[in-house]
């Protein structure tokens, strides 16, 4: 038996390696592809020269450094963050279709960011990146609070999601209402943002969200052991030595912080949080956090880079909202997952 299990572990390991290699190659390819495409055509040779020497045609340098690269960074880091946040919420609720978007966490963040922007622009005519992140985090936590209240009252998995979707609708309605009545011209942008988009990202913002999201990623990765215990159910996790009460708080704070941060910069983005961890688990054939966490992060980056590419190019020069594209590719994954799960149980 030792022998067979040893063979099995070699098989597992080579599978993990293959998946990670595949994801890294896809990531690299999508980065190159995304730099290369856009409304202004720039040759590959020129891009290479701009990237490695910083010299070249001024407009081209501007497009690559100020538009395309920060946008790529946003799609990669925030996409990874979304997948991570989704994975944490699935672990917390023990529910494979939990995620920041369906539970209304993203919408809660959206509402608070819109509110902060309107108030800030009216009274102090100034808004910093950090204010947005804090507002988004607070909004995420408040929405999470409502979801937790609902979860306490109703034990059924599907009803929890219904509660989340309702919270999401309420928050979106209030946000739309605020945007419609805010006259400030600066808020014109708010509408695009409220639909979800990676466009218009600046390097200063990239620094902040990369710091937050990567920091959270490292923390979550270091927590993969208790997360693994938590996946077994709370009672077993406790018997394995996890302080469940404290750990629940950590999970809520981390997942809300990541979801809030993503929303602050890119608006609410649907389905990445559910579809990516699920696909990653299918590929890896395991749910072990120590491999699923980094793979989900990479997978989220790949998925969002791909979706952003489609959003930019499918109907160029018109840009689609990123959520439209993620829903198009993510929702079928979720539907298939639901059917397979129910099929398995029946």
């Amino acid at each position: 038996m030792e022998q067979r299990s040893a063979d099995n572990s070699i098989l597992r390991r080579s599978r993990y390696t293959a998946v990670f290699l595949g994801l890294l190659i896809a990531l690299a390819a999508l980065v190159v592809w995304n730099i290369n495409t856009g409304s202004v055509h720039i040759g590959v040779g020129e891009i290479a020269r701009i990237l490695f020497t910083g010299k070249g045609d001024d407009t081209a340098v501007g497009i690559v450094w100020k538009l395309r690269l920060p946008r790529i960074a946003a799609a990669a880091v925030l996409g990874g963050g979304l997948a991570l946040s989704g994975f944490l919420m699935q672990t917390f609720f023990g529910n494979p279709i939990a995620g920041p978007f369906v539970l209304g966490i993203s919408s809660g963040s959206k509402l608070f960011v819109a509110l902060t922007m309107i108030v800030a622009l009216r009274f102090v005519s100034f808004i910093s990146s950090w204010m947005m992140v804090v507002a988004a985090f607070v909004g995420a936590l408040i929405a999470m609070g409502f979801v937790l209240l609902a979860a306490k009252a109703i034990r059924q998995m599907s009803m929890l999601l219904v509660a989340g979707i309702m919270i999401s609708y309420i928050c979106s309605a209030i946000t739309e209402f605020l945007i419609a009545f805010a006259r400030d011209s600066d808020i014109v942008n708010l509408h695009t943002w409220a639909q979800g988009s990676f466009s218009g990202t600046k390097w200063g913002e990239v620094r902040i969200f990369t710091f937050i999201v990567l920091g959270c990623f490292l923390l979550v990765f270091c927590l993969s052991k208790p997360i693994g215990a938590f996946q077994m159910g709370e009672a077993y996790a406790q018997s394995m030595g996890v302080n469940v009460r404290r750990f629940r708080v950590v999970l809520i704070l981390l997942s809300s912080l990541i979801a809030g941060c993503v929303t602050a910069y890119a608006g609410p983005i649907s389905f990445v949080g559910i579809a990516v961890p699920h696909l990653v688990k299918l590929l890896l054939k395991t749910a072990k956090p120590i491999v699923v966490i980094p793979a989900s992060f990479l997978g989220g980056a790949v998925f969002c880079l791909f979706c952003d590419y489609v959003a930019r190019t499918a109907f160029a020069p018109v840009e689609l909202s990123i959520s439209t594209v993620t829903a198009l590719f993510g929702a079928p994954v979720v539907i298939v997952m639901l059917i397979r799960r129910h099929g398995g149980r029946a």
Binding site: M1, E2, R4, S5, N8, G94, P96, C222, S224, K225, G228, A229, Q231, M232, G233, A235, Y236, Q238, S239, M240, G241, V242, N243, V244, K281, K285, T286, A287, K288, I290
Partner: protein, 366 residues
């Protein structure tokens, strides 16, 4: 250190600050098996959850080797106490090996990676529950009996000093019940692991346990060895048995005896009567059994099923008085069934009884 390895002191348990059962005081030596018995909903699980700290004790505390369980960190507790719970293990895409290996959690490094020594212990735990061949199987695709063994292996792998199991034999067929309990028994005796569990099968509880805790009502009325606890009146009142009966000696259950005036008399001995009693019971015909020695196996069943039993003390000749009583009762019946009985020196009056039945025209051979 006291001579007891595990004890509870005035432990009161319940939910949301409401006491369900109070003042539980028990003590166990290392390697002893304590079983909680009692009717459904009596609070067996509540007590177990309080011992494992899944529920906060309302008052009092438990002690493992004189260390307060309430004051321990979860981490310390996890190295001393492992559990097999009734709730299903969550988690997806887990092989049995994966499930068992989670028992190593308290011993692995920060990232939870298994060392070669850990792997050996997982393999040994699987071996100890005879489940080595299940290692690579999907945990959700195995049978109930296999699942309980894997969960037990997981608990063993945690190298605890105490294992707490909540109804580990539910949903198992008889073979798997026996298999699981015998693994527990040998584990307790060979490795000195103390076992605390709840069981619905009181017959098995009687046979496997060193100590029995009867759970019913607000306080614990009975705690002791199976010999002390398994008395007819204690068990009958614990479970409120009014339909049917539970035989303390054999741990067998009988359905209620047929009601009404008996019209059948059964003569039997040395086990020949049991199938007849059962048939009459199923046909709902009340009957009288006799003459049976009180050490006859037929007597043990007849006393639960027959409307009346004419009996005689063992090893003595059947007295005239007993014979006359049997004859009188027999005459009130329509039928006498003779299931066959060996006649010897002391019970030769039975031959007279059979003869009387024949001359009355009541006799029917079984």
């Amino acid at each position: 250190m006291s001579e007891y390895y595990f004890r509870t002191a005035d432990l009161s348990v319940g939910y949301n600050g409401k006491t369900l059962i109070r003042d539980i005081t028990v003590s166990l030596r290392a390697g002893e098996i304590m079983t909680l018995i009692g009717p459904n909903g009596s609070g067996k699980s509540t007590i177990l959850k309080s011992i494992t700290r899944h529920l906060a004790a309302i008052r009092g505390d438990s002690f493992i080797a004189d260390a307060s369980v309430g004051a321990m960190s979860y981490k310390e507790l996890s190295r001393k106490l492992a559990v097999v719970l009734t709730e299903r293990i969550k988690g997806e895409l887990l092989t049995c090996w994966d499930v068992v290996s989670t028992g190593r959690y308290p011993y692995t490094n920060t990232l939870g990676l298994l060392s070669p020594a850990d792997r050996e212990k997982v393999a040994a735990a699987l071996e100890s529950v005879h489940a080595a061949d299940l290692a690579d199987r999907d945990f959700t695709a195995i049978s109930d009996g296999q699942r309980q063994r894997i969960l037990l292996a997981r608990a063993i792998c945690q190298e605890p000093e105490i294992i707490v199991l909540d109804e580990p034999t539910s949903f198992l067929d008889i073979r798997h019940k026996l298999e699981l309990l015998s693994i527990l028994r040998s584990m307790a005796k060979e490795k000195g692991i103390t076992v605390i569990m709840s069981l619905h099968e009181i017959d098995l509880a009687q046979k496997i346990s060193d100590k029995i805790l009867c759970v019913r009502g607000e306080t614990i009325e009975h705690f002791g060895t199976p010999e002390e606890i398994f008395r007819q009146e204690i068990i009958d009142s614990l479970y409120d048995i009014d339909a049917g009966s539970y035989d303390i000696t054999f741990g067998s259950v009988e359905l209620p005896r047929p009601a009404g005036t008996p019209r059948t008399f059964v003569i039997s001995g040395c086990g020949s009567g049991i199938p007849v009693f059962r048939r009459l019971q199923k046909e709902d015909q009340p009957f009288i059994a006799g003459i049976l020695y009180t050490n006859d196996v037929d007597f043990q069943v007849a006393r639960h099923l027959a409307a009346e039993v004419v009996s005689e003390a063992p090893f003595s000749p059947i007295s005239e008085e007993t014979y006359q009583r049997a004859l009188t009762l027999m005459k009130t019946c329509d039928t006498v069934i003779c299931a066959g009985v060996p006649i010897g020196e002391s019970n030769r009056r039975i031959a007279d009884l059979i003869e009387a039945a024949r001359s009355l025209g009541l006799l029917r051979e079984a």
